[in-house]
Subunit: 159 residues, 2 copies
Amino acid sequence: MKRVFVRRMIGYAAALAALLLLLQWMQYRLLLLDHATEIYITGIALLFTALGIWLAKKLTKARTVVVTETVVVEKEVPVYTSSATFTPDREAIGRLGLSSRELEVLGAIASGATNQEIADLLFLSLNTVKTHTARLFEKLDVRRRTQAVEKGKRLGIIP
Amino acid sequence: MKRVFVRRMIGYAAALAALLLLLQWMQYRLLLLDHATEIYITGIALLFTALGIWLAKKLTKARTVVVTETVVVEKEVPVYTSSATFTPDREAIGRLGLSSRELEVLGAIASGATNQEIADLLFLSLNTVKTHTARLFEKLDVRRRTQAVEKGKRLGIIP
DNA sequence: ACACGCTTCATACTTTCGGATGATTTACAA
DNA sequence: TTGTAAATCATCCGAAAGTATGAAGCGTGT
């Protein structure tokens, strides 16, 4: 792979060198004549336009890649324990030292409630809910409610 | 078709004419100086190389053909999708009209990322992430990211 | 009685989210 | 050609969330 690329680069460099030599020669030849500058310039222009086209084609062609992806998906169908029979992992809860109020708040957060809604639901003040969430986040070692939900589900604390 | 092509050609011709005028001017200006020829030539070369590349790109782009391939996949009993072999519910996604970007953002939200983190992750601006989330919430008919995660999981859109 | 943890609530401040709206570009379809 | 959808980015503003800190009441166990 690498070797091919290096060789191609060398080829390009050689072609460019040849081109420059040709130019040098043209310059030397044509400057001897009077009023030949326009022809010279035109030659240059055409030459380099061609070079540009050639370059572009090479570059775009080299970049044309066809990718065929085959994805095989195998699935098992395990016996499914529905969410109705969810039992929280008491071990994890004890290990983290989560209080019952904090668990309630975590559940409400997971359901998508705002702090104010949680306050109304549990008959608390907004500030109290905030302290609960703050302690909850500290114990779960997270910084946002979305992370708390993710971690809670992962640890089996909430369904 | 033909008409478009002709007009494009006219545009190219105009551009070329402008280019030639520019050259004429450069020639007039620079030939007043000594030893400016080399610089002039180099300019010409670069200019026309660029022109060539541009031309080639335009010409090849106009010829770009899009091939659409339809792949039919048969799925086996997707009753229960464990987190390891999760496959999103395409039916639900299609029904809600969720775009790929919106799905990416939803996944990132579910992992607990802030909008800024999502922006960094997907190489977007914060504002773009916000518009994606806004549209996502609208389509999911929710008002907060926690609700979006909850609904996304419930509908089988995210694991 | 007293320490300890849980719960409750408050103030003040910063950060993150979310809503509304508009601009621009690109791709694709009618 | 025109229209539409997706994706990108922007500003402004208000709401929600989160941080820091202090404080008070209430059971429980020693």
